[in-house]
Subunit: 332 residues, 4 copies
């Protein structure tokens, strides 16, 4: 979790009237403005996925032009970026059979086979943060007591299984790295709401309610060239804290990036940990996608000029999980 001596520009938070020395005040202020607690009733377990209606899937299907498909998943293997922080290791995949034993005669008549096993943190590679992943002052999504919801047996109410059928619809790529960064944004670059709008305008795509928005910073492309460096928890380009209003006002269903943690790192406060998460998950009920590989899709979008597509990003149906590995598939 070490980072090089990069500093994050605080112009956006200052302009928005936040005091970088007082993140708790900032979180409270924006939460008061954007909170969706109760919007879908006291029993809601879907948060922003309520905005991803069946009509959005019809809209998404209409974006399929050539049928070309892109996996937006990074690999799941031991070469990943994890360094063990908070017991987050890279996946450990092992075999229960190999081709060497194919003719051992365990089974009759020449059939042989192999099974395999995996042990991994659900947050180790391309993933969704579920609604039980982050709390603000002990409160989880919809204002619930976090201690009553997320327990040692898992998230008893908003486990990722509640989202199992929902995450398919219209996807929109905002290639901020390309449009603003000339390919890649540098680490510690805070992306503002104006920039998100500007990228959409330049690309000629509209962000609409219920969309799954994919924000490409270019950092993952950089790590493929230069090595992981501090990818897992170090400095990164990402959403400014000030985009919380945009995330709220656009009524998008989810947002995903090609970085470890969606939001800019270091963040724009003196001392804070993932302050955008602190609002986005418990207050907005927003699904955050992390460590997505948007590079191949971005090249194709740049080539054909279409930045919307049908996107399916189905979490594994792990009962009670607060997140899930995912292999998102975009079909253009």
């Amino acid at each position: 979790m070490t980072g090089a001596a990069v500093t994050t520009d605080r112009a956006a938070v200052l302009a928005a009237g936040y005091d970088p020395a007082k993140p708790e005040e900032a979180v409270a202020a924006v939460a008061a403005r954007v909170s969706r607690w109760g919007r879908w009733g006291p029993d809601d377990v879907l948060g922003s996925l309520n905005l991803l209606t069946p009509a959005k899937r019809v809209e998404g299907a209409a974006c399929v032009r050539t049928g070309t498909a892109f996996s937006l998943s990074q690999p799941f293997d031991e070469t990943g970026p994890q360094n063990g922080w908070k017991k987050r290791t890279n996946p450990v995949h092992t075999m229960l059979g190999t081709g060497h034993e194919a003719l051992d005669g365990e089974f009759p008549h020449g059939i042989g086979g192999a099974d395999d096993v995996i042990a991994m943190p659900l947050q180790c590679s391309t993933q969704w943060d579920g609604l039980g992943h982050i709390f603000d002052h002990g409160k989880a999504w919809n204002g619930r007591d976090a201690a009553a919801v997320v327990r040692v047996e898992g998230d008893r109410l908003t486990g990722i299984e509640t989202a199992a059928a929902h995450l398919a619809g219209r996807g929109v790529l905002l290639d901020v790295g390309r449009v603003i960064g000339g390919g890649e944004l540098p680490d510690a670059y805070p992306i503002t709401a104006d920039e998100l709008d500007e990228v959409a305008r330049v690309q000629g795509v509209e962000v609409r309610p219920g969309d799954i928005v994919c924000v490409r910073t270019g950092q993952y492309a950089r790590t493929r060239r230069d090595g992981w460096g501090g990818y897992a928890g170090g400095p990164a380009p990402g959403l400014s804290f000030t985009t919380l209003d945009w995330l709220h006002d656009t009524d998008i269903a989810a947002v995903a990036t090609d970085t470890w943690g969606v939001e800019v790192r270091p963040n724009e406060f003196d001392v804070a940990f993932q302050p955008l998460h602190q609002v986005a998950i418990p207050h907005l009920g927003l699904f955050l996608g992390e460590m997505w590989d948007l590079d191949g899709l971005a090249d194709a979008c740049a080539a054909d000029g279409h930045h919307d597509f049908f996107l399916t990003a189905a979490p594994l149906r792990i009962t009670g999980a607060v997140g899930s590995p995912v292999n998102p598939i975009a079909v253009k």
Copy 2:
């Protein structure tokens, strides 16, 4: 792996001229007829997924009528059917944080959160069998030496990651349980090619090259009512060995069922282990989906009369895996 004293009708294999006492001969005979080795060149790693072209995704997208989405995944948790055979346990999901510790002050300013971890066989619940999962007499897909392909470090050539972007397209449900079985087929019921065609005809749906075909037997619905019983490896309805020609001739991209192992159990030979697998995976290069939950989708298809849909069934991008857990999403 114990089974009740059920017997499987062998009329289909007998009619096809196979000797139930000689599965090895039967495997060789059908493999000689249906083998696709070399069809897509010596370097192919996709097998039947070559048939799932971009055009199929355009065709699949055109099936989206209302945008209603269905998860075809069974739960991943400790209540699953696994009994430890071949080290196949149910998933073990554990938490690295809970709501109880949300206010511990590990992080500043009121943010709290939870991570989680999973250890599981890749074959424990809803899954794809990859091309490295089964061998015939030491040969893997495309005629390769299994010992050269699937090693202790995983499948070096046809690992599931090669399929990461492919499994989205037109899905077709054949609800054999409903049409033939009046709801559910009994265990040990061998589904024939004629029955598959008949179900398609009754349902008014056409099976076309490149489709992902979902065959519902009704067994999973039965286990939800009666308990798992021998679901993991015991008797089950499923495809007759004689459907291998149908699987070949239709040029479908993949087939999935609501049972543990796709094919009928006990199988139609005196002594054999998963003989349909022995041909379908190494010779046809066919992706097999197992333990899918097709019940909700089936009800909806029966209600609206449409049995095709857009289906995305993205395996996790686990490097070298011979299978993958999956949460298939069907959009009608």
Copy 3:
């Protein structure tokens, strides 16, 4: 966790004045009598291990006569008794290399090798219950608030690592199965304090303060002959609830059995779950050993007439664990 229709004789609890319908009263009554809270100061983390002094190891070493060693561990593998209850699976051991790849050239000059990995519940086979394993009405050992001690990160105070250097000393075998049961006690047989004393007398061995006492029921020998049956959580011979006074008065350091759960099952109350544990761990601070294999040692003791030995039963030094797998070594 099913059990055959066996019933447990309640004569001992009735004679001791307990009401089988009121386990909570019984627990409170005996806890009031035997509680060691505060005995070793408010900061104690060792419980009964305080009784296993260096002098006990000198005493234990003096029991070494021939130097013959016995492993008291059951195997750790997929053939174990676990059935998934409370996510307790059998161990999943997998390889990261094999002899097949020995000459692959990964390393130069002909060296090859293999590593391996394990995923397992710490309670899956031969084990110690640590002091954080069981609570009584929210209280852990020494009267501490369980919620303050055992958290999602593990046992912060009495983790098994605190016991790492302690569990070596004088071991004593009480072969109740042989002396009272003629080889094996039947399931549901409650062993009383008088019987423990009688076995010691017959064997000619003295139980002294600080000893690690191994009580053999013979149930494990039976499972090796007849199969696991309900070994993991079903009926079993074991210590009567009424032995809690004996466990206290003898000042032994630890007690271990060849059964899943030390105490008799079903227990001697109408509705209760492991009531002896409920007192022994939080109130006595007693280390409980479970699923030990005492059969080979028992044969040797019967043959030479010596029932004491040097016993080392070192838990793995897993930070914060509430138990540990162990391979106890007895040296006669």
Copy 4:
């Protein structure tokens, strides 16, 4: 696996007549001289543990003077030295219950409890290398074909379970760090046979056949002060390749160090990987202990002048494992 620019003195290998450019020749030459293949018959699975006779345990027990016990285990937790090389992560220990849920009413009458789970490489912390861990040109211990012995299901012949009852006896500490290094040896320091003998002489202890010899370099003490650095696979003090004759001639049962890999790193050849292992395990059948914490024991030995003790270092009885975590207990 990076290392600072340290160089290892090659005087010892040169003096012994080895060519640092030709490790394969050196391995062959010393193996021809020291090989024990066949010494204990063609079916032997114990290797050097044959030398640890019952008489050695009587001898070890006689070393117990005060009964003070020392755990020679490093911690098993996420703060360990592993960096993911060859999928070697630090242990991931998670809880299946906590004190927070102690009063949830899952169980009746106030009993509550916690279980836990671990996923770990068997080589992650304090460990034994078993006989199936290393091969020389495809040959395992006793001259067996490695591919026939160590397979995907584990070591079928010399799995660590065969050693379960053996590793208790007389331990001897050779505190080379203290005697030769003035506390700690620097990284890349090759310990010679003469130095081992000199340390024994200075300490006044005799190394005898069947002993378990613990060689303290001081590197672990340094990492506790300075951080792990390259502890897992980087430069380290350790046994010179030339000690293989000493390891053979002394007829010791096992050797353990406070370093990651027993032998000096970088090793004394131009290009080689763990050449001492390549001889010691397959040819000598020697058990190697790695990552032991010898510091507390060393202080006590220095203080009282006694460098022998009763040592029990029981591997877990994991069927087919090629190594095992261990908590060695030394009793002085």
